[in-house]
Assembly symmetry: C2
Homo-oligomer: 345 residues x 2
């Protein structure tokens, strides 16, 4: 609406005081993630992180990601404290693929109108994710963008920086024919395929966020907001011991869209379709949406969140070690010479 | 709409093939920003950047930012190739404040439906910005989020990492009473205050994007999309010579919201209001919107894009050097002992 006297920023939809209050509230929250290398507090122009002389030949590994339309599930359920963990864990997994240990994280949160409880819940989730993965939340931006986002809606993106010694970098060059592929179970949909999953659940099945999901005995919101898991704690030690030849994080594009990115040229991944059972959530989505099998595997992780490529002689040890860390892990297939991409047997 | 047979991701609004095509097109574009330290191509899980042994005691400086509702001006004018430069330059200036040289950049682009020309124009602008500032575009995310963004609309965020030697870090500790404040002119609104500026221009003044802006002889779109300038080329050499005690990038919150972040405790910035003339664009916005003077200074940069704090004996040299680089620069005031924040004289 047009103001009675002159225009103000607030009348136009941006509340600088609310922005300052939110920032003050976040400062304390974010301070929980500071470590001895964090030289700045929230509120500087840039965040400062001392790399120091701890690394011989450091390679920085960085990744940017969002949560996608999983956010819409947070909106309809009013549950905003888990999407930040999804985001951090997704980014942590992405740089873990190159063997990197996370150093710090920054978030970008764009809102229509600033609702302080929502901002605190979202950033609180980012803080939890950072604590869980031992990385500092070094900074971020909370943008007030009226006309962009509906009331109660927002977008959330994250950026991570980690480090790996150059000689320990995982870049596909260690992969050899005969290597085994070890599957690690996902915790659910992770952060992919939500545009399709939401259509099926909320439109085709006509469910609400608090309805029980048929056959799974859990509310829809709980099931769809299950946090994208981080594999840092279970895979990190194995990487440092040199037991991992390569990793593939199964995100958008599914197994076939992601696994080839981690194989060297001239090798094919031979996967055993019967080595695991696709979790019931995926099968129910497929049945209710009438989605073809191939499409399911392109859009969703189908129960496989990460694939580790290891020496054949190490495979059983790796599976055992991962299970001891609480992972569901199994031999999913092997690397064969020639060709490219993925074949199913 | 419900598909006739089964659901596909594409029917739900996400086109994985278009995503892959866009990525292939961007790969070549982004390759232009590669330097000898960039170890990865676009398409890996994380981007790889070799820090190597070039630094004695490196401090990484990182910042995240968006373009705000300046994007809406890009939407209404259909001109999408400059907002990426705004974003990179904004981020470069933010870490320059701590004395950092940019190393690499990542972008997050969220679209409703993927329009390949638009994505290429936006990322092309990011590439231009990276080339202009000598930093690598190490990675990014293009998210397809139907139901989030209207057709032709998108959000864009960026993330930068730079480096500074710990002993050369600018952290406010060098600021002394008697230091002079040097103003550097902005190129326009930069990336702040657009929610208010758009209300005034498009609603109160009733202008369209291609109408001439009264009294300024330029189309509205040209004026409002003027690129946020980078001060790296002009200030970088002065920072490396140790001539700069502190910097303040004048963004959201204006001079009073930003300058105090760069002063040490127990000092006040005394600014001479008559030392520069507020550019006509700001005065016209103020008059047409009936915006109070104080509000204008809180929302807009009012013609001051960056403030450098330098030794009194160096001030004239610094101003001369900046002018030789093409900057409009002038003595804006001085640092006085005691108190805090900003006073105007």
């Amino acid at each position: 609406m047009e103001p009675r006297s002159g225009w103000t920023y607030r009348a136009a939809g941006v509340d600088l005081e609310a922005g300052e209050r939110a920032k003050a509230g976040l400062k304390e929250l974010v301070a929980r993630t500071r470590d001895r290398y964090t030289l700045s507090e929230l509120g500087g122009f840039g965040g400062l992180y001392a790399l120091g002389g701890r690394w011989r030949d450091p390679v920085l590994v960085a990744s940017a990601d969002g949560v996608g339309t999983k956010l819409k599930v947070a909106f309809v359920s009013g549950r905003h404290h888990t999407v930040g963990r999804d985001l951090v864990n997704h980014c942590v997994n992405d740089i873990l693929v190159q063997g990197a240990t996370p150093l710090f994280f920054l978030d970008y949160l764009a809102v229509g109108r600033l609702e302080e409880g929502v901002v605190e819940a979202v950033v609180g989730g980012v803080v939890e994710g950072c604590l869980e993965n031992g990385c500092a939340l070094l900074g971020g931006e909370t943008a007030q963008m009226p006309d962009f986002y509906a009331p109660g809606e927002y977008d959330l993106a994250g950026f991570i920086v980690g480090v790996v010694e150059r000689e320990e970098m995982l870049d596909g060059s260690r992969v050899r024919p005969g290597d085994r592929l070890v599957g690690l179970a996902s915790s659910g949909l992770h952060t992919n395929g939500y545009t399709l999953a939401r259509k099926i659940v909320f439109e085709a099945m006509g469910l609400g966020p608090w309805d029980p999901f048929p056959g799974l005995g859990m509310p829809v919101a709980d099931l769809l907001l299950t946090v994208h898991k981080s594999y840092l704690a279970s895979l990190g030690p194995l990487i440092r011991e040199g037991r991992i030849h390569a990793l593939a994080h199964i995100t958008g594009g599914g197994i076939e869209g992601n696994l080839p990115r981690s194989l060297g040229p001239g090798t094919t991944a031979r996967l055993i379709r019967s080595s695991w059972e696709v979790p019931p959530l995926f099968r129910r989505l497929q049945a209710e949406g009438g989605v073809e099998e191939e499409e399911m595997f392109r859009v969703f992780n189908m129960g496989v969140g990460m694939i580790a490529i290891v020496d054949a002689g190490e495979a059983e040890t790796v599976v055992g070690r991962l299970r001891a860390c609480g992972e569901q892990a199994w031999i999913l297939g092997e690397v064969v010479e020639g060709g490219e991409g993925v074949v199913w047997v």
